[in-house]
Symmetry: C2
Subunit: 123 residues, 2 copies
Amino acid sequence: MLNEKILNILKHEGPATFATYGTDGIHMAATWNSYIEVLYNDALLIPAGHLNKTQRNVEAGSEVQMILASKDVMGLQGKGAGFLLKGHAKFEESGVNFDKLKSRFSWARSAMVFKVKEATELV
Amino acid sequence: MLNEKILNILKHEGPATFATYGTDGIHMAATWNSYIEVLYNDALLIPAGHLNKTQRNVEAGSEVQMILASKDVMGLQGKGAGFLLKGHAKFEESGVNFDKLKSRFSWARSAMVFKVKEATELV
């Protein structure tokens, strides 16, 4: 799911943006590639400093979409690779995932665990 | 609206992602910062190669949200600046905007003109 090319993108710094949907419409937010940790083959761990509306939308049932991309990774049409990830997330305010993030990001109030169900390379 | 910091972000390469909403939910897509041209103080010109679903959503009335960010620009909390832009878009398949893009991007089928109504710096 999270293939070599995606892992390679995460090694290059850049914005990692994601979107949810709620009662007041689309909500976009972002983190940095370097802040993301790969949890399993299909999950990403993201430190939540704010992300309050993202959490509200997620807990009301919204899916999460994220785009990871880097111009420094070879894509389908030469230089520049990007992936659209779709899945669902949960927020953890304690436990091993939260502790791991908290030790690296003192400002983290929660750990966003993004379970990826689908990863599509963008053309 | 499109202030100096946003123009500075656009000078650094990275993914520029945007989201619309339609009958099948959220739709995220992306271009590269270096592909975007600033049209006026409140409009961005984006080459559309595909972006068919973005166009369908836009023409059905969806707003457009976009995040522009770069870790190499100073933000509100040190290194790393990002902005959330909200507005509406239209697609032009001919005319001066399209011709300008087409001369640079032979693959462009349309020019996406993103009229920005609101720009908020992300913390």
